[in-house]
Each structure stands twice: as structure tokens, then as C-alpha cells.
């Protein structure tokens, strides 16, 4: 993996974020899903806490297994999402890198990343006896439609009313507009950075982008977040300008689809590097580029671009659109092949993958491989099996010219 100077700043930001959330007496804390419209919360000075982000941190720290076992001992099935199990376990044992998450005042969940996430949040709502607001974002079988936008906008207006009522003060419209702009700016820097991967050799590795996702997930809508991604973008742009590759002697360039395998980041990083292979682009990291058009200057409706951004999530749209998008990435980033992580935990991300692999190879002529793994559960992972498949893919690719 690439050692960016910005990393130390990111660690500071993430530490400050968790310390504030754990110690605050003034600000309310809300637990939210990764695809929740967090801008509404920042407008009301609420600290959003992301159980998904925390679960990933636990796995990257090799703590997810013990936490999942605690959840399973409490009766949660091994068949449910490993993020959910990790968080249930962290909640039961007050475990993980920051010793459990601060209790929520309310919950905000959106179904754009997963339709079953509602059940997870219902469990939390019962345990803490707090209100749960659900933003229902229907699956986009055939793209965005007027009805879907209207349906989602209506819910966002209800969300404002919910926040005003729950917090006992009026929704702060003026602050909201500022937050939207900050979200827009941070997301724009993030996307500009990811676009630098088009360069051959790539100045970064997608495994780096998984690490540097923290602030865009948790602090999108704050000034700190904008400043951080400006810093990171400038560092990566400078490396690109000076032709410094992430992987020296880059021969192969891959797309990674689905979540990272958080507990195998280092090993996979070394595996690819030894084979002169860079992961150049991912559908996962790209998801946080969605908010680069969330705020539009001028007189248009402010809610519609927000609704569009939160509906138009990669795993919330149909297979044909996914395939078209993947094919465009393979083309635009001059990739030599692709890896699809069939993630035991994440069905909405993994369903249809074998068919998509076939179709993508037919469209682009590039080889791909499906690996069976899990984002957080080491019991669902075998080094030898995954690496044999990846190595066979590398053997069958033609190097970049």
C-alpha cells in the first residue's frame, strides 16, 4: 500500500471524531447507515455515528471475530451480515478499538445500501428505546424516475420535521445549505482524487482509498472533511504529476467490485504488489463520489439533487446499469481485468455476480474472477483458495502496454 503523508492527519481526524462522540455532553448522537442523508443531521449539530464504519475498524484491527462470536452467543445467526454481528458484539461487550459506541439519541437508516438493514436498526431501537427514522429508497430497476424522486423528497421533508420534534428546536435551513455545499465540495475532491487512477501507472492503490474513506463516510458535510480531501487530492495529484507509482513496475490494473476484505488488507496489498498489480478503481470507494452534485446553485429545488444522490447508489440499481457502469470503468481506467468479491455478508452487492462477470468479459474482452469471501468474517475466508483464483486471473491478463 502507498504511504501518504495525509494518513497521519486522517488518524487525528478520526480520533477526534470518536473522542468527541464518546465524551460530548451537549451534542446529541445518532446512529446512521452509510447511505443515510447525513447532511440533515449536521445541520442540526447532531454527531452521526456509523456502526458500519466501526465494524470495519474492528475487522481491520482483527477484533471482529471475537465480537461476532459474542453476538452469535447472544442468538444472532451466523447467516446475517458480519457488520451487524460485529456491532451487536461490540455493543454487548463494549468492545472494539474505542470500547463500544456512545448510546444513540435516535437512529436514521436508509435502505439504499441494503433492504434488510431495517431489521438491524429495529434491534438497536428496541435495545436503546429510541426513535428510528427510515428513509425508504426503492430499488432502481430502470433508472431514476420522477415518482422515485418525489417519494424520496417527501420523506426528506418528514425527516426535517422528525428532527425538529425529536430535538425540540426548528430545523436550521440556513445551516443546512452550508452543510450541503461542504458535502458537495468534499465529495468533489474525493472524486477528483479517484479519477487520478486513470493515469498509467496509477499514483494510488484502491486499498489506500479504502483506508482513506473514513472522513468522507463519517464527516461528510463538515469543513474538516473538505480540508482533508483537498490535502489528500493535492498529495496524490503531485505524485501523479511526478510519475510516482503506487506499485513500482505496474503491469496489471484491476477493478475491485464490492466491499474490501477488511481483515486481509495487508496480505492482499502485498500479494498484488508482488505481482505488479494495482487495484485502480472500485465501485465501493466511488460510492462516496455520489454527493459531488448534491448541492446545485441557483433557484432549483434543493431536495431533488439530494434525493437523486441518495437513490442513485451503485447497489441500489439494476444489473444492466451496473454492468454498463463497470464496463465504462474498465474502459476509462485502462484496466487489464477485474475482481468481483462475492461477499457472504452483502447479498445486495453480490447477487448476480457470476452472470455479471460473463457479461462484462463479453463486453470488454477483459478477464475477471469471482472470489468467495467476506468483508468482516475471517471464518468465511481461505487464503489459498482466494490467492489461487487471483493468481490464475493474473496469469490470464495481458500486461498494460
Amino acid at each position: 500500500m502507498t504511504r501518504f503523508k495525509a494518513l497521519s492527519r486522517m488518524k487525528e481526524i478520526m480520533t477526534d471524531y470518536y473522542v468527541e462522540a464518546k465524551t460530548t455532553r451537549e451534542k446529541p448522537v445518532a446512529w446512521v447507515t452509510s447511505g443515510a442523508p447525513v447532511e440533515f443531521l449536521f445541520a442540526m449539530d447532531v454527531i452521526p455515528i456509523y456502526p458500519e464504519n466501526y465494524a470495519a475498524m474492528c475487522a481491520a484491527n482483527h477484533q471482529s471475530l471475537e465480537l461476532m462470536e459474542a453476538a452469535e452467543a447472544a442468538g444472532f445467526s451466523q447467516d446475517i451480515c458480519a457488520y451487524a454481528r460485529t456491532d451487536f458484539g461490540a455493543d454487548i461487550t463494549q468492545g472494539g478499538p474505542v470500547g463500544g459506541l456512545p448510546a444513540p439519541r435516535f437512529l436514521l437508516c436508509s435502505t439504499n445500501i441494503c433492504k434488510t438493514v431495517i431489521k438491524w436498526y429495529e434491534v438497536v431501537a428496541r435495545k436503546y428505546d429510541v426513535p428510528l427514522f427510515i428513509v425508504d429508497t426503492p430499488f432502481l430497476h430502470h433508472g431514476l424516475t420522477r415518482e422515485l424522486i418525489d417519494y424520496t423528497v417527501t420523506q426528506m421533508k418528514h425527516l426535517e420535521a422528525f428532527l425538529a420534534e425529536t430535538l425540540g428546536r426548528p430545523f436550521d435551513r440556513e445551516r443546512f445549505l452550508e452543510v450541503l455545499q461542504l458535502s458537495n465540495q468534499a465529495s468533489t475532491y474525493w472524486m477528483k482524487m479517484l479519477e487520478l487512477g486513470r493515469k498509467i501507472p496509477s499514483p494510488f492503490n484502491s486499498l489506500d482509498t479504502f483506508i482513506h474513506l473514513g472522513p468522507i463516510v463519517t464527516l461528510r458535510g463538515t469543513r474538516t472533511c473538505v480540508d482533508y480531501y483537498k490535502l489528500l487530492y493535492e498529495e496524490v495529484a503531485e505524485r501523479a504529476a511526478r510519475n510516482i507509482p503506487s506499485v513500482p513496475g505496474e503491469k496489471y490494473r484491476l477493478l475491485w467490485d464490492n466491499l474490501p476484505v477488511w481483515f486481509k488488507m495487508r496480505r492482499l496489498g502485498e500479494f498484488f504488489e508482488e505481482r505488479k498489480t494495482t487495484l485502480v478503481t472500485t465501485t465501493y470507494a466511488n460510492s462516496w463520489g455520489n454527493y459531488a452534485h448534491i448541492y446545485q446553485d441557483g433557484s432549483g429545488d434543493i431536495y431533488e439533487p439530494i434525493a437523486a444522490a441518495y437513490l442513485n447508489v451503485y447497489i441500489n440499481y439494476g444489473f444492466e446499469d451496473r454492468i454498463r457502469y463497470l464496463a465504462s470503468l474498465i474502459e476509462e481506467f485502462s484496466l487489464t481485468g477485474f475482481v468481483m468479491h462475492s461477499n457472504r455478508s452483502c447479498k445486495p452487492y453480490s447477487v448476480g455476480m457470476y452472470r455479471m462477470q460473463e457479461e462484462l468479459t463479453r463486453l470488454t474482452g477483459k478477464p475477471g474472477v469471482v472470489i468467495e469471501a467476506d468483508q468482516n468474517d475471517p471464518r468465511a475466508y481461505s487464503d489459498a483458495q482466494v490467492e489461487t483464483r487471483l493468481e490464475a486471473l493474473i496469469e490470464s491478463m495481458e500486461a498494460v502496454s
Binding site: T361, E372, E395, S396
Partner: protein, 261 residues
């Protein structure tokens, strides 16, 4: 005379093939892997060297493959078993289009192009169903030697079905059939058909060509070969020694690299 070797260390067996400079197979060996894959690979290699009466320093190049490919100290390079089975099968049957390899702990389907180049491949997921290990467990449950299973099954007269995909559940089904007084040969054929269904499903993912070649240890089981042919609807080809095809492919790569091919 220059010599080349391929060593394939898998979960159940360690295989080696020795080629001479003309690419002729001069010796081959199949040994159980046991609990030390490093030793097993070296032993298989020394077995072929002994057979040919040459010493290790006469070897120009060794390529290793299989799950323990990185643990073969004598190897100057590694290749995945996917590439090696494709290469080896193509060498035996130059018109091969689809290769089905069922090894100890995984099964794969490979679509090959000219010169045995891998065009596409699919492998079983983490589950051991439909692999050599599956067959071993069933042979144990039936209390018959693994190498007798195929012969017993082809004499079967009654159609039985094993419907479970999971090895553990399938074993319970076998035990259930035994307790119903079903004959071992009939059960063995049901096991073979269960492997065939799963394998043909896997092969469907890469596309079934007219000329299907089956490699790997399970290809020695006549009943499985027959069941796969029946499921596909036409005969499939099996090399004389299907178990050494991975090692043969590795040896061919060793010879190719050396000649700059």
C-alpha cells in the same frame, strides 16, 4: 540431455512428471501428500529422478503448481493449477475445448484456446461438495475402498438420489440409504451422479465445448466419468493418467520457459 520437471502438490497427492528435452514423459509419480507438503513435493520429485536414474543437478528447470506450489524448494517458478491443467490436457488432447478437473479439495472448469491458453475458468466455492474429498468421505461411509467405488457403481441397477449439496448432509443421506438396505453399488452411483450434476453446473459457467477432457484424480472413477458423460449428453475424454496432468502442465511450462517459448 536436458531435463525438465513439474511438481504438483495438492491437498491429497503430490505428483511429479519428468520430461526430456524433446518433451517426452520419461517418468512420473503420485504420492500421498500427508501432513508435510514440502517433503511430499521433494519426495515425488526424487521418485521420478530415481526412475530415470538421474540426479537433481541435471534438471534444467522445475515448475511447481498446486496448493503448496510455493513450498517446493527445487522449483524455479510457480504456476497455478488452472494454467497447468489447461496446458497438460491440451498436450494430451490438442483439440480440447473445456477441461474439467476434479482434484482433492476443489473442482474447476477451464475453457481453453490455442496452445492450451486459459480463456476462462470457474472453480467451486469454499464448499468441498463435488470434489475428491467428497468422494473419499462417501467411500468411507460405504466402507469400500475409494478405487473400488467406480467399478461397483457401474454395475448398479437401481436409481437412487443423493440430493444434498453439502458433504456432511450427503454423508447422512448415504448412511440413511445404507440403513434402508440399499446396495453399495447403487449408492456409489448416486454419489457419482451427484458429483456430475454439480460439476456440469460449474462447467456451464465457462461454456461446454464439444470436446470435454476430464483430469484430476476423480477422473479415475469410471462411474463419475460415465455420469458426467450422461449429464452432458456425449462422451468425454480422459487421459491415461489423469492425476498427473497438473504436474505434466508444470513440466511443459518449465520446458517452454527454457526454450523461450
Amino acid at each position: 540431455m536436458t531435463w525438465f520437471a513439474g511438481v504438483d502438490v495438492g491437498s491429497l497427492s503430490a505428483d511429479a512428471v519428468l520430461l526430456d528435452q524433446d518433451g517426452q514423459i520419461r517418468a512420473w509419480a503420485v504420492l500421498p501428500t500427508g501432513n508435510n507438503s514440502q517433503k511430499a513435493g521433494a519426495a515425488a520429485l526424487h521418485r521420478v529422478l530415481d526412475q530415470a536414474g538421474i540426479t537433481e543437478d541435471r534438471l534444467t528447470r522445475v515448475i511447481s503448481t498446486g496448493y503448496s506450489r510455493a513450498r517446493v524448494e527445487q522449483a524455479g517458478g510457480t504456476k497455478t493449477e488452472i494454467a497447468c491443467h489447461a496446458k497438460g490436457a491440451w498436450h494430451e488432447f490438442p483439440d480440447a475445448g473445456t477441461i474439467i478437473d476434479i482434484g482433492g479439495q476443489d473442482s474447476k472448469a477451464i475453457r481453453v484456446g490455442p496452445a492450451g491458453r486459459v480463456l476462462n475458468f470457474a472453480m467451486n466455492d469454499k464448499c468441498a461438495a463435488g470434489t475428491g474429498r467428497f468422494l473419499e468421505v462417501m467411500a468411507q461411509a460405504l466402507d469400500i475402498p475409494l478405487d473400488r467405488m467406480g467399478d461397483l457403481a457401474v454395475e448398479s441397477t437401481e436409481d437412487l438420489t443423493i440430493s444434498s449439496i453439502c458433504t456432511v448432509f450427503a454423508e447422512s443421506e448415504v448412511v440413511g440409504l445404507i440403513s434402508q438396505g440399499k446396495r453399495p453399488g447403487d449408492i456409489a452411483r448416486a454419489v457419482a451422479r451427484s458429483i456430475a450434476r454439480r460439476t456440469v453446473g460449474l462447467a456451464g459457467r465457462v461454456g461446454l465445448d464439444e470436446r470435454v477432457v476430464m483430469t484430476g484424480g476423480v477422473a479415475k472413477n469410471r462411474a463419475v466419468v460415465q455420469a458426467i458423460s450422461d449429464t452432458i449428453g456425449h462422451p468425454i475424454s480422459v487421459p491415461k493418467e489423469p492425476q498427473i496432468i497438473g504436474a505434466l502442465g508444470a513440466a511443459l511450462f518449465a520446458r517452454e520457459t527454457e526454450s523461450g517459448g
